[in-house]
Symmetry: C2
Subunit: 360 residues, 2 copies
């Protein structure tokens, strides 16, 4: 795919930096430190890391060629320029010149210091990282990894609501996060919000539990780094207004799920959700009612392609994303339901099967 983009855009190279999960997806090498991955139409497939990381790349990555910054003269440049970013950029520019680059494609997320340096030496074109589209359609092994996280999440959620004896949002959050961690999953900023807090979709929540809770958990595997994402609104006391809202979002979600299959336009799914909620008499404006999109892809990132919103995107088999309608009213509070689905040829598979209506 990269090679056909290079040909189409008459470019010789595509250059990535280690500041995004695309780098890990493409190279299988996990790092928090600067690193470069270069793909060339001449068959180049080169990873550049610090000298001390070379052996780890050999062990972990499948990239053909490995060079170190030291091999490419970084230290000498640093001594001369006394500026690590300039030294790094000049090293990359020289590497590309050695390979006779004229036009270089760079992804949206490449850091500015490199982008600007490259633009001074080559023709550049900023493109969406092709690995984003590749990542949107999961391979079978990726779906199994996400399924594994979903299963652990459902187990822990079930343990949380059975024999529920928590008094505060913090206690619920700690219980969920600790139980997931013990099983090898990291959930952070888990939303356990109550009362009027729930009117703010991303409010983490705190304090004494009131009539209802919005519990939104999005753990990732600590081993393979794939995410899951799941929300239920649970009721502790009767509140007709909130319960009616929740019935509407569950209905909207089920209608959405029933229409998801290979070839469907994501925009139509989002439109259907809005239509159901409007039919129930709720608003779908930007400030009140249903105020966010219907869902987002999950994988190595918690928010990735495809987005299920007001944009045209053809859903394809193997896409994995959330379906999560919600309703939010400042004076009443909020409700949301969220599941993860995989698109299949004739429908979709729900990876987070769990009861929607829960009374504690």
């Amino acid at each position: 795919m990269i090679h056909s983009i290079l040909r189409e855009k008459s470019a010789q190279f595509f250059l990535m930096y280690s500041n995004s999960v695309n780098f890990y997806y493409a190279t299988k090498f996990k790092t928090h430190d600067p690193a470069i991955y270069l793909i060339g139409e001449d068959g180049t497939e080169l990873i550049v890391v610090s000298e001390m990381e070379k052996k780890r790349v050999e062990e972990e990555s499948k990239v053909k060629e490995i060079a170190s910054f030291e091999d490419l003269g970084y230290k000498e440049k640093l001594r001369e320029l006394k500026d690590s970013k300039r030294a790094f950029s000049e090293m990359v520019v020289e590497l590309l010149k050695t390979h006779k680059a004229k036009k270089v494609l760079i992804p949206h997320e490449l850091p500015a210091f490199l982008a600007v340096s490259l633009s001074e030496n080559f023709e550049i074109e900023v493109i969406e990282n092709p690995f984003i589209k590749i990542r949107a359609i999961k391979r079978g092994d990726e779906i199994e990894k996400i399924r594994e996280v979903c299963n652990a999440l459902i187990d822990v959620f079930d343990k949380t609501v059975k024999n529920f004896k928590f008094k505060s949002c913090e206690e619920v959050r700690n219980f969920i996060e600790l139980n997931l961690f013990e099983r090898g999953y990291l959930a952070e900023d888990t939303i356990v919000s109550t009362g009027k807090q729930t009117a703010i979709p991303h409010h983490r929540g705190h304090g004494k539990i009131e009539e209802h809770l919005v519990i939104d958990v999005f753990p990732r595997s600590r081993e393979h780094l794939y995410y899951s994402d799941f929300t239920r609104t649970v009721f502790l006391e009767k509140n007709q207004e909130l319960e009616d809202m929740y019935k509407a979002v569950v209905e909207a979600q089920e209608r959405a799920i029933s229409m998801i299959k290979d070839g469907v336009n994501a925009r139509d799914v989002h439109t259907e959700v809005k239509q159901v909620l409007e039919d129930f008499g709720y608003k779908t404006t930007k400030t009140e009612g249903f105020i966010h999109s219907t869902g987002h892809g999950i994988g190595l990132e918690i928010h990735e392609e495809p987005r299920i919103s007001d944009c045209d995107i053809e859903l394809k088999s193997g896409m994995v994303f959330t379906v999560e309608p919600g309703l939010y009213y400042k004076d009443i509070g909020g409700v949301r339901v969220e599941d993860v689905v995989v698109v299949r040829k004739n429908g979709c598979e729900v990876l987070t099967n769990y009861e929607k209506f829960i009374r504690l």
Copy 2:
């Protein structure tokens, strides 16, 4: 500080994006989603987020002005351009034009898609994010946060080596990470390596424990996000060669720590470490012996300013960094010792006080 840089460079604005901890440090607003922070010489101090995040910004951030993408016409642009990155860039360009910007400063880490768009509409200059230098010198409350993480780390490490009954590297790693998580700290990729694995400094380690272990733990608080970082080499069986190497790194570390104080050049600290190790007969080349730098700042990132290496950096009171000499030989294995220090006027304070020589 930002304003004096703007004046010095005759620029009207400094623009940040939410893709670095500098954004969180500057705004106190935590997010994984796109957001903009704009500082202007005209007194502008504006955060731009999605509509649904506005209320959370109001609650969490101290930034004066808040606008949403919707307020600035993002949705209309997206409908017209059908490209979220282009719509976003055009929104930012229009915002800056409304503010009569001519020259805009952008940090190294700004994403390329924004950097290139800005460069087509304004004079731009890529600079080191000024918050990196501001962050290098910790305020008192930041030092206390790091101290808190160091204390928890030392407690857990002590619990790990007392009554040591583990058979594999994985068991040690799980014990440490789970105990830290229970206390509110997240340690990932903790290094517990043994045998020849230890010759690779960042090797995570696996399998049956052999004669010695390198245990390198770098947790961060799950609440305030500050890091600590700590390493000990521990011996289970006699190995004279490795023990001699470890004595040398401990000596090098202690000599380095004894010279750290306000005003000292970081390069001199690094040179001293190399000298001690060379005096002991070890190599300080790029491939064998002491192959990395002496240390790195810690704070909201695990690797930040100041770097204790071959570069001139004047150490200042309040800087917090690691001192971590190590020796690595492919055919023997590796050893490392690491502590966190705070620079003071007349010396430095060690935040991770713990026995250096540990026999299990």
